[in-house]
């Protein structure tokens, strides 16, 4: 499942941009591949991150996977609900399963991202 209006990376992260804040998460394809998540390592608020820089780690019983930031900026908020309920990502990866919010410092970086149509095409090619 791909949601319209979001930006996507080739590493299966999404970003929803509202003003200069981007909400970040992993895509449905990513959570399907990982299976049931049991642990999420969240970024500290205030952390500065480059585009494609490491922002979180998601782990299922079978695999650990890095999450890379779709945008460059500074973390303003992390979804602390995921600390005890990582399965929210499996249940609602584009909604309640968001990972963190980032204040975008470099809007040009958005140009490197895919839109939903491009990401859908990308998934077909995998």
């Amino acid at each position: 499942m791909v949601v319209k209006g979001l930006f996507y990376t080739d590493q299966h992260e999404w970003a929803k941009v509202e003003g200069d804040i981007a909400t970040i998460g992993i895509t449905d394809h990513a959570q399907e591949q990982l299976g049931e998540l049991t642990f999420v390592e969240l970024p500290d608020v205030g952390k500065e991150v480059k585009q494609k820089g490491e922002i979180a780690v998601v782990e299922s019983s079978k695999a650990a996977s890095d999450v890379y930031s779709p945008v460059a900026g500074k973390v303003t908020e992390a979804n602390t609900q995921l600390k005890t309920k990582p399965e929210i990502i499996n249940e609602d990866c584009y909604g309640a399963g968001w990972i963190c919010k980032i204040r975008i410092t470099d809007k040009v970086s958005l140009e490197n991202l895919m839109d939903s149509t491009q990401y859908e095409e990308y998934l077909k090619g995998l």
Partner: protein, 414 residues
């Protein structure tokens, strides 16, 4: 940890082949998304259909079926079959009665474990040998090398018997592949589609008869720790039909994920993890010394493994940790910490309900049942490495554990 010896070692270079679908591949595509299918031992196999935890629970509470058609099945036959197997395998094959099965190891002359296998005796001079999918090419090459005098028998003259691949469709009507049915409802499920009296089959015995019209070997063996479970060996042309029939009468299809979490929970070893592998773990360290009969006159690798039996100081143990959501899972090669010092490593781990079970390899005098042990998580990401998290740990290193669990019994039945 035993040092890999070159002398008498059987060296095998596997051919690089693209993965192929198992006999049941089309059935898997009907039951799950292609993204849940992955390569394993050269086969495209399902990781899960619904979810690992649901399938795990299905086997513990009801009954699950597993595609094990990728497992190797070899026939060893003729008047010298028993003699050949008794030289090649560590357990006492001469004591194996017709209709019974026996757990065994194949060692090379250097004492390295080439595979763990189950030998089924079908008659006085006919055996079925079930080997790990990942090791099948190696085992076939090894047996062939022994037949041709190309592998070390430590200077002994051993009996030689013909070996036939039972999964090869050229094998004819008695060609066989493995489908496992495991869990407490297995007997009821089988009774719905067979007149065979499977209820009375004891553990590690089997019978030959029809299920849903197909000739089968029905064995009370398995790899899930279920007290009740079967492996059904059927002709590949009947495999998909039997698979569908078993699902129709209540069996729940389970993928490789649950297969692994069930065997870890039960404490059963996986070749390459709890046996052989990077730590070169011997059967004695794995907790299976009983399957290596040192009182047997001869088997290949006996002299080498006798030394290991006297000198080993590491063992495989089972550790219980919290498996609640939000607890970071432990992983292979994470450090086992006793009193602030690294005493070994995690070999395999799995989530089972609200607990995590880890199979670990650690100094044997530090892992008595009931002891508390800690785990040091290795770095999982670049930023953890940057923060000073280690990528590997050595025995004897001083480390602070990040999660604590306790040693529980080596095995568990469900």
């Amino acid at each position: 940890m035993a040092i890999k010896s070159e002398k008498g070692a059987f060296i095998f270079e596997p051919a690089n082949q693209p993965p192929a679908g198992s006999v049941l591949y089309e059935e898997h595509l009907k039951l799950t998304d292609k993204s849940h299918i992955a390569e394993f031992a050269g086969y495209l196999m399902p990781l899960w259909y619904s979810s690992i935890s649901e399938e795990h629970a299905a086997v513990r509470q009801k009954a699950g079926i597993f595609d094990c058609t990728h497992m190797g099945a070899l026939e060893v036959s003729g008047k010298d079959a028993e003699g050949f197997l008794n030289a090649v395998a560590t357990n006492n094959v001469a004591l194996l009665k017709s209709g019974a099965a026996q757990y065994n190891y194949i060692l090379d002359a250097a004492g390295n474990v080439l595979d763990d296998i189950i030998i089924y005796r079908r008659s006085a001079d006919k055996f079925m040998v079930v080997v790990n999918a990942a090791n099948e090419p190696k085992v076939k090459a090894y047996l062939s090398a022994l037949q041709n005098g190309k592998a070390s028998t430590e200077g002994r003259q051993i009996k030689i018997a013909p070996v036939r691949d039972m999964r090869d469709t050229k094998s004819g009507a008695d060609c066989r592949v493995d489908i496992a049915l495991q869990g407490p409802e297995s007997v009821e499920i089988l009774n719905r589609i067979t007149g065979q009296c499977v209820r009375d089959l004891k553990s590690f015995t089997f019978l030959e008869g029809k299920i849903a019209g197909a000739n089968c070997i029905i064995a009370r063996t398995g790899y899930t720790g279920a007290k009740i479970g079967f492996e059904i060996f059927v002709h590949p042309r009947d495999a998909a039909k039997l698979w569908r029939r078993l699902i129709e009468v209540g069996a729940i299809p389970c993928g490789l994920g649950a297969r692994d979490s069930l065997r870890v929970e039960a404490g059963l070893p996986l070749y390459g993890h709890e046996l052989d592998g990077p730590y070169n773990i011997s059967p004695f360290e794995a907790g299976y010394g009983w399957a290596v009969k040192l009182d047997k006159e001869f088997f290949i690798g006996k002299a080498a493994i006798e030394k290991i039996a006297k000198s080993y100081n590491m063992k495989v143990a089972r550790v219980e940790l919290s498996g609640e959501k939000g607890v970071r899972p432990v992983r292979q090669n994470d450090g086992i910490i006793v009193n602030g010092v690294c005493a070994g490593w995690v070999l395999s781990s799995a989530t089972a309900g609200t607990r995590q079970i880890a199979l670990v390899y650690a100094e044997k005098d530090k892992i008595a049942e009931g002891n508390a042990v800690g785990v040091y998580y290795l770095a999982r990401s670049e930023s953890q490495k940057a923060k000073g998290k280690k990528e590997s740990v050595k025995k004897g290193e001083k480390l602070e554990p990040e999660i604590t669990g306790k040693i529980i019994s080596r095995f568990e039945k469900f």
